[in-house]
């Protein structure tokens, strides 16, 4: 189906009318971030991004495409797995401590502009939070109501390597609706009955052959632009048997253990739970906060941290992401979005690290 550019606002309005809080790309602090939007005018129209290891620049396009860029520093995990979540509360009563689940009434989210690698990342987090022995209620509440409007990439950044991870750039499943941007509108694909239902309320027309071809060409352009590659062949075994490879020492010289890579990664899910209590000792809350395996105290046990140096922490991150994840959740923890490469302040590139780890003997 074809949706005219001018009618995208109707899609946003429809979602809002159905009680969704629409989250989409918008420009803030010199980057494209995901924030609440009400109007098409808040989208980064005519903007694009240039990305390289440790570098991101927002630049003007010479057209006014609405989705003419790739992924930025935010990911949808910010909404599904918020940086701060109150899990439970405890109150001291005459009957001792009484614990209960914290009130949690998240909005119904509609995500506009989810890319293929991000669909894959959401899928990865679903396996973590929903498909194990225990379900995380906070994630579940946000996830089960989320409406997803995907957007197919029509270009790639130098840091993208979704083709290596087989997650993109084409959106294949995991969306309610998927758009491919054309000069005057969108090719719309339906992924679910809910998507179908919403689409039926929009002023769409059937799509012309030429437009279909154009859309396909644009999607192919993204594929063609992908230059980065990670060889995943036998990667799990390779990494888990090269735990003493000299490359870990080398990367530890550069890594700041600053946590940026884990914060921007759409699949990283590590957290810590902290006590937030009143001064009188009558009321306390358990607050879950994003944490990172790069932190020294992350592995603290009485007696001291287990991962005492940056080398062991970088190794934990990379081996978890690319190897142990497969044992734990049945897929790689990396979807090839390239965020950790761009947003590493010193430009450490995991694909380069993997290549180096393949070299030499363990």
């Amino acid at each position: 189906m074809f949706l005219a550019k001018a009618d995208l606002q109707i899609l946003i309005d429809r979602l809002a009318n159905q009680g969704f809080e629409v989250i989409g790309p918008t420009v803030s602090q010199a980057a494209i971030v995901y924030d609440r939007i009400q109007s098409v005018s808040e989208l980064p129209q005519g903007w694009t991004d240039r990305q390289a290891p440790g570098e991101y620049r927002l630049e003007r396009r010479n057209d006014d495409e609405l989705f003419g860029y790739v992924v930025g520093p935010h990911s949808w995990k910010r909404y599904l797995f918020p940086p701060l979540t109150t899990l439970s509360t405890a109150d001291l009563t005459s009957n001792g401590w009484q614990m209960r689940a914290a009130d949690d009434n998240p909005p119904k989210y509609a995500f506009l502009g989810v890319r293929a690698c991000e669909l894959a990342a959401i899928r990865v987090q679903d396996r973590v939070f929903l498909e194990g022995a225990y379900v995380d209620p906070a994630y579940q509440r946000r996830r089960q109501n989320a409406f997803i409007v995907a957007v197919n990439c029509t270009q790639a950044a130098s840091t993208c390597f979704c083709t290596s991870m087989e997650t993109g750039p084409r959106c294949r499943s995991g969306f309610d609706l998927a758009l491919t941007e054309l000069p005057d509108g969108f090719e719309v694909e339906v992924g679910t009955p809910a998507g179908e239902e919403l689409l039926s309320q929009l002023p769409t027309t059937s799509i012309a052959e030429k437009q279909l071809n154009d859309a396909e060409q644009r999607r192919q352009r993204a594929v063609d632009q992908i230059s980065r590659h990670m060889d995943t062949d036998g990667l799990r075994d390779l990494l888990l048997t090269r735990l003493n490879h000299p490359r870990w020492d080398e990367v530890a010289q550069r890594c700041l253990a600053c946590t940026n890579c884990t914060m921007v990664c759409p699949t990283c899910f590590c957290s810590s739970v902290e006590e937030v209590s009143d001064l009188e000792g009558q009321h306390s809350e358990r607050e879950r906060r994003w944490d990172s395996c790069f932190n020294l105290d992350f592995s603290y046990v009485s007696g001291g941290p287990v991962r005492r140096d940056i080398r062991s922490r970088y190794r934990q991150w990379l081996t978890h992401k690319l190897a142990s994840w497969i044992d734990q959740f049945g897929s790689s923890g990396c979807v090839g979005c390239g965020r950790c490469i761009t947003w590493c302040p010193v430009g450490i590139d995991l694909t380069e690290e993997v290549a180096a780890l393949r070299e030499g003997t363990p």
Partner: protein
């Protein structure tokens, strides 16, 4: 600790901002004051108790010969000594004199420098007496201060997070300003505690909470130099409120050496 621990608040060379943080905890002040016996706090009360103290909060750095005796005396009279703020934990901004000609500094400010009795260095409290806990920041975070006091009152060991400013910055949803705008930022090597306010206001962190544990300042500086930041910009960035903290000090001295070698 006894029912109501005696707390003393002491000051050396400093701006008073850190002890003021306690008075700035408006919502908590009276509750906290009810749990402790404020035995010595010149800024807040005329009631003076010579101790001994269960908890001593020490602000400021050591800059005069008299300070040395005074801090030793406080240490003797205190069970648990906490240094508060960058002056006390790292020497503060006044530690810039440590790299300068002190007499020339005195002459620059005073018409009659001979009246001034001050040391050539500004040094952290821990260089002079054992310190039980350090609360970082220029100024400290008042919530951390309240948390530390309440922990001690309840017989717990105080804890403050040791991770980098970046973690808080990203939790807040900020965009990294180094990566997106090329602005040098010390966030990756600075200990959290402020809530990442500078990047939230579109400016680089200048490290006022001091070096994070195991921070890799060398790598950050090398990268910034490679990206075109000048050593002459990096040195003052490292040499400010926590400039004399070992990790920042070593790095700035290396940079100075590097740039003089180049010249």
């Amino acid at each position: 600790m006894s029912a109501k621990p005696k707390v003393g608040v002491f000051k050396f060379a400093s701006c008073d901002g850190c002890q003021l943080s306690l008075l700035c905890a408006e919502d908590e002040l009276l509750t906290v004051a009810g749990k402790i016996d404020i035995a010595y706090f010149l800024e807040a009360t005329s009631h003076i108790d010579e101790g001994p103290y269960d908890i001593a909060l020490v602000e400021g750095s050591i800059t005069t010969p008299a300070d040395i005796g005074h801090i030793r005396d406080i240490r003797k009279r205190s069970k648990y000594l906490i240094t508060i703020g960058a002056c006390a934990t790292a020497g503060g901004i006044q530690a810039l004199r440590n790299w300068a000609d002190h007499d020339e500094f005195l002459r620059a400010v005073y018409a009659r420098p001979e009246y001034i009795d001050s040391l050539a260095t500004s040094t952290p409290i821990a260089d002079h007496v054992p310190v039980d806990f350090e609360l970082r920041g220029c100024p400290i975070n008042r919530f951390q201060l309240v948390e530390v006091i309440v922990s001690l009152v309840n017989g717990r060991k105080p804890k403050t997070p040791s991770h980098s400013v970046c973690l808080d910055c990203k939790r807040r949803g900020n965009v990294c300003i180094t990566v997106a705008q090329g602005v040098p930022c010390l966030g990756p090597v600075t200990q959290s505690g402020c809530g990442a306010i500078c990047p939230t206001f579109d400016r680089g962190c200048y490290g006022c909470f001091g070096p994070a544990k195991q921070c890799n300042t060398g790598s950050l500086c090398q990268h910034l130099l490679a990206q075109g930041t000048l050593a002459t910009e990096l040195v003052p960035l490292l040499r400010n409120f926590n400039g004399y903290a070992p990790e920042f000090r070593q790095q700035s001295e290396q940079l100075v050496q590097l740039s003089t070698e180049v010249l």
